[in-house]
């Protein structure tokens, strides 16, 4: 015990050295794709309008603008109202799906997740068709009052519903039947049981869902752009400053403001995840869903009403895309799909979107899986692995609008050697991979964490290189998760508009951007048609992935079914 030697390290074998380099490479890519663009926003926010350094002065000036305060107030009101509307609706829906023996449960679940297939512009278009100046039901909202607060809240409710639902479903799916039995034997009625068992057990899920809805609403600009009218919100303000007035520093300051709720919700979510750890003990008894006819009937009615409303909002735009002139001539036509008559990019935009979604799914899945594998399974991952994992969490906290702004400032800078990427499809792919990295990374990590941690040591003792184990064991056992990640990337890249809105050129215009531009130009029917194409291709992709997954599992994964 006289001398403490310097910490020793095992020598790395060749495959471990290679994997180590790969990890550093992935880390460098994430730094370029996420960290540097964000740093560029910070830098830009400190520039005066003539480009000279001005410290915090532009920030102060922008914040002092009355327009900005109005926009911030508007965003806040809209976000709070949407959260208050969506949370109880989604909670009831999730409870009906998980706690009641609901007939057609799978169908209702699918129905509620449909909004994920559409860009956030679509509910806006549907609302215009339903309640707008030429709307079918315009008397419901007198004097065009749908354009503004009411329209934004309804549209955002549609857009955020599946996000809230997914969190609450997970939260409500677990529960301990023993607690309910104990409460019943002690004479607690249904209300008391709900207030003392169900609600406390799902409070983390509720907070988490509320944060997600709030953040999505504040950072989304699709709905407000289409149906918001003159109602001021921050996201549209940022868009106007950058695209309309070319005022980049002010756009950057608003971008920083948008980052705040996202960062806050990110921090709260991390904190919750740490607290939530031991909610349900290993000895918990699974819940038996309610079977009473009355409960089932009520659940059926409720889910039909909510799901029906979602379906109407989705279906109106789709239906209108196939009608001659909503709402006067309801005859069938395909003329709105002849995009040559309108501006916006037309079929080129759709083809670009398909390409973007495909490349994002391919590149994203490979990068994410390698990164998650390296950072969690590699003995020599060390610092690179930790940094990669930390950086992979960051995109979740960065709204697409902010990321897109960062890409302008970073890649469009004349001194950047990567300047050549600007205006290409490649930068759109990079941006989309970065934008949706966190969820994909978490999915991959979860799947990898379920594998026995001793696979790699066993393989090493048998002198089998890491790569072979990755290919023969790790990848095949994680295949369902890998397909899930690819599908997620594809659909997200297909529907996103926020990040890419700043990065497209006439050659790389995208379908979701085309929807925005056509709607802007007053070609609502063409916009609805393009939105329909997006929904159709996302839906087709989901179906395709489901079939592929089913086929692969049936073919190569016999081992998953004992005997």
């Amino acid at each position: 015990m006289t001398s403490l030697s310097t910490p020793r390290r095992l020598a790395a074998s060749r495959d471990e050295t290679q994997a180590g380099w790969l990890l550093w490479l992935l880390l460098a890519l994430l730094v370029v794709a996420v960290l540097l663009p964000l740093a560029a926003i910070l830098g830009q926010a400190m520039l005066a309008s003539d480009g000279s350094f001005a410290g915090l002065a532009p920030l102060r000036d922008t914040l002092a603008q009355p327009g900005l305060a109005r926009a911030a107030g508007g965003s806040l009101q809209v976000a709070l109202a949407t959260t208050a509307l969506v949370l109880p609706l989604a909670y009831g829906y999730a409870a009906a799906l998980t706690r009641v023996a609901l007939p057609g449960r799978g169908l209702f679940r699918l129905l509620a997740l449909l909004p994920l297939l559409a860009p956030s512009l679509l509910p806006g278009i549907s609302l215009v068709y339903l309640f707008g100046h030429q709307g079918l039901l315009k008397s419901w909202f007198a004097d065009g009052s749908i354009y503004g607060f009411a329209g934004i809240v309804l549209g955002e409710a549609f857009y955020t519903f599946p996000h809230a639902l997914m969190i609450l479903l997970t939260s409500l799916a677990v529960g301990d039947a023993r607690l309910y039995e104990a409460a019943r034997t002690l004479g607690a009625g249904p209300l008391r049981r709900f207030a003392t068992i169900t609600l406390p057990a799902t409070r983390y899920g509720l907070v988490s869902a509320a944060m997600v809805v709030f953040t999505l609403v504040v950072t989304d600009f699709g709905v407000a752009k289409v149906i918001g009218g003159q109602y001021p919100v921050l996201a549209v303000e940022a868009y106007k400053q950058v695209i309309g007035q070319q005022n980049f520093p002010r756009g950057a300051v608003i971008g920083l403001l948008l980052l705040l709720p996202a960062l806050l919700s990110f921090a709260v979510d991390r904190w919750l995840q740490r607290r939530q750890g031991t909610q349900v003990s290993a000895r918990a008894q699974p819940l038996q869903p309610l079977r009473q006819p009355l409960a089932r009937l009520l659940a059926l009615l409720y889910c039909s009403a909510v799901g029906g409303a979602l379906l109407v909002l989705l279906g109106t735009a789709i239906a209108a895309a196939f009608m001659q002139q909503w709402p006067y001539q309801l005859g069938f036509t395909l003329q709105h799909f002849d995009f040559d008559l309108v501006d916006g990019g037309g079929w080129l935009a759709f083809a670009n979107s398909l390409k973007l979604a495909l490349y994002t799914a391919l590149a994203g899945t490979v990068l994410v899986f390698l990164g998650a594998w390296g950072s969690s399974k590699l003995r020599t991952a060390g610092t690179a692995g930790q940094l990669l994992h930390a950086l992979a969490m960051l995109p979740m906290a960065v709204p697409g609008l902010v990321l897109g702004l960062g890409y302008i400032f970073f890649f469009n800078h004349a001194a950047n050697p990567l300047h050549g990427l600007y205006g290409t499809l490649a930068i759109l792919v990079l941006c989309s991979v970065a934008h949706f990295y966190t969820t994909a990374h978490m999915t991959a990590r979860t799947a990898l964490a379920q594998l026995d941690g001793d696979f790699e040591p066993v393989a090493a003792s048998l002198k089998v290189p890491l790569w072979r184990t990755l290919w023969r064991v790790t990848l095949p056992t994680c295949l369902p998760a890998v397909l899930d990640i690819a599908r997620y990337f594809f659909v997200s890249a297909m529907t996103t508009v926020s990040a890419v809105i700043f990065l497209y050129t006439p050659d790389t215009v995208l379908a979701a951007v085309a929807v925005l531009n056509m709607d802007d130009a007053g070609d609502t029917a063409a916009a609805a048609a393009m939105a329909t194409l997006i929904v159709a291709s996302s839906g087709a992709a989901c179906l395709l992935f489901a079939l592929l997954s089913h086929w692969l599992l049936a073919r190569s994964q016999r081992w998953r079914h004992p005997l």
Partner: protein, 378 residues
Amino acid sequence: MKLDPTTLLHKAPPADGAATRPYLTLAGISKRFGQQQVLSQLDLTIGKGEFVCLLGPSGCGKTTLLRQIAGLDVPDSGQIVMDGRDITLLPPAQRDYGIVFQSYALFPNLTVADNIAYGLGGARRDKQRRVAELLALIGLDEIAGKYPAQLSGGQQQRVALARALATSPSLLLLDEPLSALDARVREHLRREIRSLQQKLGITTIMVTHDQEEALTMADRVVVMNGGRIEQCATPFTLYREPATRFVASFVGQGNWLAARSRSTLHATLGDVSLLLPAPHGTPSGSALTLFIRPEDLVLHPRWPATPDAVLADITKLELLGPIYRVSLHVPAWGAANVVADITHAQLAQLDISPQQRVPVSLNAARLRVFAGEEKQHD
């Protein structure tokens, strides 16, 4: 006079493995995790072909020690030499061992045959032949095409063993290989693993917290506690001559008696004078603690001729299956409470029941003597 315990056994235990050619040498191994010293200055030599068990309570460092040998971790200081080669800093792939983990870590998407062939190179036909050999060796020829999830726990365990042995490594590491199995399968596999090991003559290190497993399987048992080796000996020596209080109380059952030394070979236990089996180093008049196994206490049907018999009160009689355990209160041994193990035949002969008195003596040749008053190690 010291009785050589080996003379009491009609089948002598095998000689100390360390006496054969050393195959694996650990010298001064230390490892600390943060504030906690997990291994401290540990030395161990393992002979070629020897089966060594690392035994100890959880947290004693036995698994950590195995991980240093496997190259899954690196010791802060010390050296590991295997077959004359310093492997302290080599990655696992450059060492030469097969390993079976507690979870078995069988690849779920590969068949039994593919799992066993995983580390094999060369032509396909050679691989197939080797897999067939190994399946025959573990007696599971008929399951080659099955997946791990379709096997019983015992079958999975044997497949993991076959996979570890496939590349003919010179060292086999077993990390609690039987702890996930139920008692009956475990007992069967103990014998199977041991006979396989002897057939192949492969040097083997097994980590276990189950003393019965260690005593029945190993050539030598290394008892660890708090990151140190308490004793390293054959199962027989370990049981009969525990070197420390910890080993005495960790392995098997025993009675602790407070005594006082009278000379280097004599001690006083209550009112009784005892001849100790070996000289001890403590000065006359100092406190001693005597340790004796329950089977080395003798209950007498009649008052015996031996001078050191005393009367004991029977407080409890417990049936433990093959034997009875008798709880006694012995006033003449300083009011000690002890337990004695007797057979059914002995019980019939004694014809005793609780609340009765019975003459008792102890087999002084089997006493272990520790200095000081402290009884058990905690």
